[in-house]
């Protein structure tokens, strides 16, 4: 295994990591954020280290469940449990988003926890993203971003300069270009990186300062180019879904003769944004446009057609054979999305498996059985259609 990949997997497997700790030791304040609608560039330009919140290392929900309940999402319960356990005591601030009915309550519950003397950062912000794509919504989102900028400036005591924003854009654009290179390597006939590894990469690069992320990615791209991470007979899968942060879950899928070559995940292709337009006079407006119009998730009510096209285009471009769509229990948004995507996949003759689980929730036996049966089914279909590859037997 590539040395850098091993390092990346270690970073992804824990909340803290050496790069983060170094930044903290250098008195660089860290600000946590939820969701891909929170512009990392703004946090970075304000002098913070943006850190995407996660539930990694969670061993339960006992404390999280003092606020949330059994019908709330396991990601939110576990992440908040980690918060209340003090695992995030290094944060100077956090930006919560109104992503869904579960995650938006983190803002409310965290403020309450703070009043009760429980672990909470000094600064807590709520960023509100619209649920639609329209000019009026874009204008609104831009105003919300300006509020956040104001809040961050108050928190750090300095104004965010246009130059600082521009520099941040450049860094994050560089990071994205490297990620896109890795995505291209996944699309190869023999992918150079597995789906499990890719998830580790995306988790790692959102847990370290962007400068370190660029360095890690640069090394990784060089190390994996030419690598053969799968076999020619493997079923090529596209993974679609919401919150997923367990590389071991994807590894379970890839235990079969299968490899994940494309995705539409929160920690995945939905992090990839359109290029930053060159609008030196209106950097926030340009940023708002980039972030609002990036590949959406089902919280955006009037964007299913564009989202669906993006998924099936990625499916086609990656030469995928089948789609596995996942949701966490009690996620209404992805439940409805899977309902629609299943119909679309059926119309296109694309094999489609829907999975439902709890984050870090076990149930491996059932998942293994379902995924294995699905892969066998796809193998048979391929053999029947003369597409080559092995039948089950």
């Amino acid at each position: 295994m590539s040395k850098t990949l091993k390092q990346i997997q270690e970073i992804a497997g824990a909340i803290k990591n050496p790069f983060l700790e170094k930044a903290i030791a250098q008195n660089k304040p860290v600000v946590g954020y939820f969701c891909s609608y929170v512009p990392e560039e703004i946090l970075h330009a304000a002098g913070f280290v943006p850190y995407r919140m996660r539930a990694v290392g969670s061993t339960g929900t006992a404390r999280g469940d003092t606020y949330f309940t059994a019908v709330n999402c396991s990601f939110v319960r576990r992440c908040f449990d980690q918060v209340l356990n003090g695992e995030y005591d290094f944060l100077a601030g956090a930006v919560v988003l109104n992503g869904c009915d579960h995650s938006r309550r983190i803002y409310d519950n965290w403020r309450d926890a703070k009043k009760s003397g429980l672990p909470a950062p000094e600064h807590l912000f709520m960023l509100v993203a619209p649920h639609v794509l329209r000019d009026s919504a874009l204008a609104r989102y831009e105003k919300e971003l300006e509020k956040i900028i104001q809040g961050l400036e108050n928190a750090c005591g300095t104004k965010i300069s246009p130059k600082a924003l521009k520099d941040s854009f450049a860094l994050y654009q560089k990071r994205q270009e490297l990620v896109e290179k890795l995505y291209a390597l996944r699309r190869q006939d023999i992918p150079a990186i597995t789906g499990a590894e890719m998830l580790s990469v995306l988790m790692a690069i959102t847990a370290v300062p962007v400068e370190d992320a660029i360095s890690l990615l640069t090394k990784l791209v060089a190390e994996v180019e030419g690598r053969r991470a799968a076999s020619a007979d493997d079923i090529r899968l596209m993974l679609v879904g919401g919150c997923m942060e367990e590389p071991e879950h994807i590894a379970l899928i890839e235990e079969n003769p299968a490899v994940v070559v494309a995705d539409s995940l929160c920690y995945g292709a939905r992090m990839l944004r359109p290029p930053q337009e060159n609008e030196p006079d209106e950097p926030v407006a340009a940023l708002a446009r980039r972030y609002l119009y990036h590949p959406s998730c089902p919280r955006m009510i009037n964007d299913f057609e564009r989202r669906k096209d993006a998924i099936f285009n990625a499916f086609r471009e990656s030469g995928a054979d089948a789609i596995i769509a996942e949701k966490l229990m009690f996620c209404d948004l992805w439940g409805g999305e899977i309902f629609l995507l299943r119909k679309e996949a059926k119309e296109r003759g694309i094999p489609f498996l829907g999975l439902e689980r709890e984050m870090y929730g076990g149930g491996e036996g059932q998942i293994r059985t379902r995924v294995q049966a699905f892969i066998e089914q796809v193998q048979n279909a391929r053999a029947r259609n003369g597409q080559g590859g092995k039948k089950v037997v």
């Binding site: 579960h102 509100v128 009690f330 209404d332 899977i338």
Partner: protein
């Protein structure tokens, strides 16, 4: 879609037959009152094969608790409900555009256009008119089609109803991003299933002037959308009239809500809940206003006489949650325990008056009323929208206890449960957290719900 032959609008037709039978009766509210008393108790307690077609209607319209004067108001509202159902079940005259509207979205603007309006979630309530198993069929249809079981059952009814040919085909859909993810998600499914163009109101998170203006701007866009899909032009004068009717209706209903602070309460939240049902048909209509006016007058008379709605009010309940619909508990609680729900989540009104002096002021205030409508006002933003209102209710309504429902669709509410619970704990008053679904009787049965309520009242010396 289910293979079994499903009569188009089967459930709505059943509801129409019931309404057709009830309409002439309600011309004689005293007779209705005595008839209810005669039928009374067996209907209260249990759904059986012989009563299931009538029981829900009986409970929904107040059981035996409504006075003859209140029955007169109900009769007026039932008339509008009848017309609403007739419009799509037995359409007559030139065909009008059919516009679906999400049930938490206020429909003043829609009322101005010459359209038929339909609320897809209608069947979540009216579906029970054929017995609670009828609503289960619609829900199961949605689940069998692949909709997630953990959706709010109202959303499942909306989709299941369409799949079962129970809903008229829409020419357009209007919806919003409130009150919850089930709506955000299910309306995307409905848009795709029906192929109808859809307009979405993006509800802001905050309650400030900026937010109201944002919503107001979207109302102009909504008008543009409706003009396009209907081929009609907005009639601003008519909108003014509708808004004035809404103002009068809300004023009456809000005063009823406020009068319930009195001990004894001169009204019950059931009166306000019934108007919520009526919103489907009569929001902004003269009948809706008339209903509110009569109920208000009746409540005011009792208030001025220092009389309660119940002969003997023993327990004052704050039901700060959605009501159980498949088993409407209010008449039973009133009769069994003398328990009146004096303030609740859905029925209670806290509204702005719409300034109709200019178009701009009217649209701006419409935005305010939309964001202040029941359920929207509590759910569209931070938990304070829940907890501060609950705090006020506690201070103003002299409660003896609280009831919450824990409907699985209300995930945003569940996620704030600790904060809500704390408000209750500060009072030292007992709180019941029912485990049930409000539309789907499969989750917890009626007898089990009544058992929970009975045990709660008894173990807290409230009965």
């Amino acid at each position: 879609m289910s293979e079994a032959a499903i009569e188009e609008y089967g459930m709505s037709k059943k509801a129409l037959r019931l309404l057709k039978a009830a309409r002439p009766l309600y011309k004689y509210p005293n007779a209705v009152y005595w008839l209810r008393k005669l039928l009374g108790d067996p209907l209260l307690l249990k759904e059986t094969n012989w009563n299931k077609d009538y029981r829900f209607a009986y409970l929904l319209t107040g059981g035996t608790s409504l006075s003859p004067e209140d029955n007169r108001a109900v009769g007026i509202l039932l008339e509008d409900l009848y017309q609403y159902l007739e419009a799509y079940v037995n359409p007559s005259g030139p065909k009008k555009p059919m516009i679906w509207s999400e049930w938490n979205l206020s429909n003043e603007i829609l009322r101005v256009f010459d359209v038929n309006a339909y609320i897809p979630e209608t069947l979540a309530v009216l579906g029970h008119l054929g017995g609670t198993d009828a609503a289960v069929k619609i829900i199961e249809e949605a689940e069998n089609a692949g909709l997630p079981p953990e959706y709010c059952s109202a959303a499942k009814c909306a989709v299941g109803g369409y799949l079962l040919n129970e809903s008229p085909k829409p020419d357009a859909i209007i919806t919003s991003s409130h009150p919850c993810d089930s709506v955000v998600s299910s309306y995307q499914a409905l848009e795709k299933l029906t192929g109808a163009p859809m307009f979405v109101m993006d509800t802001p998170y905050w309650k400030d002037e900026d937010s109201y203006l944002y919503y107001a701007d979207q109302l102009y866009e909504l008008i543009g959308f409706l003009e396009k899909v209907t081929g009609q032009k907005m009639d601003w004068e008519k909108l003014k009239q509708v808004c004035r009717t809404v103002n009068a209706t809300n004023a009456h209903l809000q005063e009823i809500s406020e009068m319930c602070r009195a001990v004894p309460a001169p009204a019950s939240s059931l009166h306000l809940l019934f108007h919520w049902l009526g919103r489907m048909a009569c929001f902004g209509s003269p009948a809706g206003e008339q209903y509110a006016k009569i109920m208000h007058a009746n409540a005011k008379k009792r208030f001025e006489q220092g009389k309660g709605y119940l002969k003997e009010e023993k327990v004052r309940v704050i039901w700060y949650d959605v009501p159980v619909v498949f088993e409407i508990l209010h008449p039973w609680m009133e009769k069994e325990f003398g328990a009146v729900v004096v303030a609740d989540f859905i029925g209670r009104i806290e509204q702005f008056q719409i300034d109709t002096s200019t178009t701009e002021s009217m649209i701006r205030d419409l935005a305010k009323t939309h964001m202040s409508v029941t359920m929207a006002r509590q759910t569209h933003g931070p938990a304070e929208f829940y907890t501060q209102e609950l705090k006020r209710l506690i201070e103003e309504y002299s409660p003896d206890c609280f009831i919450f429902v824990r409907h699985q669709g209300c995930k945003g509410g569940w996620a704030a449960m600790k904060l809500i619970r704390e408000q209750c704990q500060k009072t030292g008053l007992p709180a019941l957290f029912l485990n049930t679904d409000i539309f789907d009787r499969r989750v917890v049965s009626s007898h089990r719900i009544r058992e929970q309520v009975t045990n709660f009242f008894r173990s807290n010396n409230l009965a």
